[in-house]
């Protein structure tokens, strides 16, 4: 099984100019603690919106890689976004889902992936190319899948089965408007 923070640190160790969108809770807190940078955008609420936000960003910035760090609970709340992602199929999009099979932060209640649901199969059914959907359970397999996604055209879907650990604090200390402006300033984009 993959340790989510270690995998997040691997992602951040490979970053140069890439843009990262993190879902609320564990994906966001791990990203903040692995490496805080202006090109990281954190959802502070809006469960399910990370994938949609990353799609919009990938459409607007076709020359930069956009990495979405999602969770199983969040993606299950917005499964339609997988279908919408493949309508455009942006080559620069890497959608990573940390699947711990639970709503960890609210008391480890099981999500549907604790039963019969397989998010990698859903991604394929939604229209991701089968050779760009990876289901990984070990760190070496995750590193290999992520390196492949960083080096080639997507969209990629990496379904990472992770241990059910709570992200260690501190939480992201920034206000939503600050996160937005910091990100846009880093891209040289005028707010508004």
């Amino acid at each position: 099984m993959i340790e989510r923070f270690e995998a997040t640190r691997y992602v951040t160790s490979r970053l140069t100019d890439e843009l990262v969108v993190a879902s609320l809770g564990n994906p966001s807190v791990d990203l903040y603690n692995a490496k805080d940078r202006p090109r990281n955008f954190h959802l502070r609420n809006s469960m399910g919106m990370a994938s949609s936000c990353a799609l919009g960003l990938a459409m607007a910035r076709p020359k930069e890689k956009v990495i979405c760090l999602d969770g199983d609970g969040s993606l299950l709340m917005n499964l339609g976004s997988l279908a919408t992602e493949t309508v455009r199929s942006p080559k620069n999009l890497i959608h990573i889902v940390w699947d711990n099979r639970s709503y960890e932060l609210t008391g480890k209640q099981p999500t549907a992936t604790a039963f019969r649901t397989d998010l990698a199969k859903i991604a394929e059914g939604a229209g991701f190319a089968p050779d760009k959907v990876e289901r990984v359970e070990t760190m070496p397999a995750f590193r290999q899948a992520f390196d492949r996604a960083m080096g080639g055209d997507g969209p990629w879907f990496i379904h990472a089965l992770v241990e059910n650990n709570r992200a260690k604090p501190p939480r992201v200390p920034f206000s939503p408007a600050y996160l937005k402006h910091r990100f846009m300033i880093a891209l040289g984009v005028e707010p508004g």
Partner: protein, 167 residues
Amino acid sequence: MPWAQDVVAALKAAHVRFINYLPDAMGEQIFRIVREDPSFELLPLAREEEGVGVVCGQALGGVRGALVMPVSGLGNAINALASLAIPYKFALPMIIAHRGALGEFNQAQVAMGQAALDILAALRIPCIELKEEKDVPKLTEGALRLCYSSESPVAIMISTQVAGWKE
């Protein structure tokens, strides 16, 4: 339809490129003009809430998008508006086709259509209603200016008074 041409002209003048949408008969009046204009790109959504995330992502990347949807979709988008567009201060133009109001035939459209203006008011989202054909260019241009200057969601509600109702 002249009102739809005026709305599209205002979107184009405001440099909106992405038209993210859930369709309905009123919206189609807009899409048929947009499809013929290469300065726009259309993105069909599965649910209106996605559109809030998508427009915010497009804005983060420096490209303007709009969300075009029927009023029922406003109900599907509420938490994303309240937790993403509003606190992060994203300019989010929403072009909303009003059902459940003047001329409505379907009782199941009425509650959402009647509540929509109050819901927007409760969220402090300005709502500009397009009721008269002659006012459409000015009101749409003004609503978009407000949206971008305030970095906030703004609703442009298309009334059946201007767009006609379903028979």
